[in-house]
């Protein structure tokens, strides 16, 4: 981390308008500050594991460091980070035990019931329903409604067409609706 090791030398972030002059270290530092937490939460919603989510996002930033000279644009860099996070989450899920993936979420009932809050119950039910969606639908729903991305941005992040985003999103919502109906 000191200048002498040559890999990551700067902690100072220039003004945002200067981004084309950022070197890779500047870019990673600035984008980390602006987006790290949200990207971790995004991955955590896909993976249901904050630790694994952090690893995926860190890998994305490491990848970005090498690619920054070809991007030199924070918007393009964010697009790259999102794609890497979605792709990295897919890989992580692929390598994760199938049994674990389908195990019920902890505290599905009981805990939230004791809070006595209908809102908390509803939130729990929605989150569980999203969690139970097939991967592509879950990605589409999380990117659309948590990350608040446009259909176009979701398409770019998932590497699919906008038409497919529409399909996955509407199927995902329909399945959530059905699951909530069943739960009541």
């Amino acid at each position: 981390m000191s200048g002498s090791d040559g890999a990551f030398r700067s902690d100072t972030v220039p003004a945002p308008g200067d981004e084309r002059r950022w070197d890779a270290d500047h870019a990673v530092t600035a984008l980390y500050g602006a987006h790290y937490r949200q990207l971790v939460r995004l991955a955590a919603l896909l993976l249901h594991d904050v630790g694994a989510a952090e690893e995926v996002v860190q890998e994305a930033f490491i990848g970005l460091h090498g690619r920054w000279p070809g991007l030199r644009d924070s918007g393009a860099a964010l697009g790259y980070l999102r794609r890497s996070v979605v792709n990295g989450s897919r890989s992580a899920l692929r390598h994760r035990d199938v049994v674990e993936r389908h195990a019920p979420a902890p505290g599905v009932d009981g805990a939230s019931a004791e809070e006595g809050a209908l809102a908390a119950l509803e939130r729990r039910a929605v989150v569980d329903a999203v969690r139970a969606l097939p991967l592509r639908q879950r990605e589409a729903v999380v990117l659309r409604y948590y990350a608040d991305l446009s259909e176009e941005e979701v398409a770019a992040a998932m590497g699919i067409s906008r038409g497919s985003v529409k399909t996955h999103t509407s199927r995902g919502l329909a399945a959530v609706r059905e699951a909530l109906g069943r739960a009541s």
């Binding site: 981390m1 090791d5 040559g6 890999a7 990551f8 002059r21 950022w22 070197d23 890779a24 270290d25 980390y32 790290y36 937490r37 971790v40 939460r41 995004l42 955590a44 919603l45 904050v50 989510a53 952090e54 995926v56 996002v57 860190q58 890998e59 930033f61 490491i62 990848g63 460091h65 090498g66 690619r67 000279p69 070809g70 991007l71 393009a76 697009g79 890497s84 792709n87 990295g88 890989s91 692929r94 390598h95 509803e122 939130r123 039910a125 929605v126 989150v127 999203v130 729903v141 398409a155 590497g159 067409s161 906008r162 497919s164 919502l173 609706r177 059905e178 909530l180 109906g181 009541s184």
Partner: protein
């Protein structure tokens, strides 16, 4: 569905989902050491590259440095370097000469990142002496170059000549690729002197008919093949029937001696390197591409017959070529994988390459 849902169903499902996900997300707090870990990762990735820190390195230099670490060799990124990167040469005519990947990936998580902007490495010539042979293909209205690796039919002393013979008389493994050079063409003489290969082809070479773009591509096919097969070759002097040619198939060939045109102008924008056409492997299948695309984004779709069974993407490079790979889990069966780039304006996908393969 909703008829029996009763009052528990939120009035506005989208709002409810949005609210629930935001609240759930807010409850998940990353540990505070993310930046330190990223820096550590960057240091591990870039240590020993000898290029020092600094933002003035070009993308290519960074990519090349990355490969230098991975392959343990430092190679400049010039000219034909890319021809050496490729792992498994398709060997349509002989037993496979197995080659290990020349671009090892340091960890599984890196597989989503570009690994190489085509740096050659000595280990790649370990691909059993396979010959790089370029073909042309009409893709999205343009004639572009695509490369295959072929096993040499004999054991010729000169790789350039062997690749030339293979280009003229061999068959591309991929049915989408072709060569417009007449098959009856023979090589009268082939000499390399001072970086220039002088190729004298029989008169039949001039007997094809093709459009100007196809002709240019075919001339570049010859130049790319020779310069790829023999690192000593930098330029090609093309003769037909003993005469240096100014035109071929009715179109100008360009200034002699001929040199490689810029890759962005002549190469296929995306090549699927692995799986090679017609190969069989276990699952997961490694799909490796070499290409350039808007924001580097290459979309990969796997089809079983007409049914799309998988869709993913890899990130190559924008404004230059880079290699990237991913792994796809597939049940046993016969598939085709297609690689697309995305129109920056409207998001439409254009297919750039495809390969048929089998999972056992």
């Amino acid at each position: 569905m909703s008829d029996r849902s009763g009052p528990a169903l939120p009035d506005d499902l989208e709002d409810a989902v949005r609210r629930a996900l935001h609240e759930e997300a807010a409850s998940m707090e990353p540990a505070g050491d993310g930046l330190a870990r990223i820096r550590e990762g960057v240091r591990e990735t870039s240590s020993g590259d000898g290029t020092g820190a600094g933002g003035r390195r070009t993308l290519l230099a960074v990519a090349a440095a990355g490969v230098a670490i991975l392959a343990g060799v430092g190679v400049a990124l010039a000219g034909r370097g890319d021809d050496a990167t490729v792992a498994t040469p398709p060997t349509p005519t002989s037993a496979p000469t197995t080659a290990v990947s020349a671009t090892p990936t340091p960890s599984p998580s890196v597989s989503a990142s570009p690994t190489a902007a085509g740096a050659g490495s000595p280990t790649a010539s370990a691909s059993g002496g396979a010959l790089p042979v370029y073909y042309v293909a009409d893709v999205a209205g343009q004639t572009r170059l695509y490369r295959e690796f072929h096993a040499p039919s004999a054991a010729p002393a000169d790789a350039g000549r062997a690749a030339l013979e293979e280009m003229l008389h061999g068959e591309p493994a991929d049915p989408d690729y072709t060569s417009l050079w007449p098959r009856s063409t023979s090589v009268i003489s082939y000499e390399v002197s001072d970086g220039t290969a002088t190729v004298d082809l029989s008169a039949d070479a001039a007997s094809a008919s093709a459009g100007p773009e196809q002709t240019t591509a075919s001339v570049q096919q010859l130049v790319y093949t020779l310069t790829a097969a023999d690192p000593a070759v930098k330029r090609v002097r093309l003769l037909v029937g003993g005469q240096q040619v100014k035109t071929l198939w009715g179109h100008p060939v360009g200034d002699q001696p001929l040199q490689r045109a810029p890759a962005l102008d002549v190469q296929g924008l995306i090549w699927i390197i692995d799986p090679a056409q017609g190969t069989t492997s276990g699952s997961p299948v490694t799909v490796r591409v070499y290409g350039t695309a808007f924001e580097g984004n290459v979309v990969l779709k796997v089809f079983r017959g007409a049914t799309e069974v998988e869709s993913t993407f890899v990130t190559t490079a924008m404004g230059s070529f880079a290699e990237a790979s991913t792994e796809i889990d597939l049940a046993p069966g016969t598939y085709s994988v297609r690689a697309y780039d995305e129109n920056a304006e409207d998001g439409t996908l254009t297919e750039r390459d495809s390969k048929d393969f089998t999972v056992r």
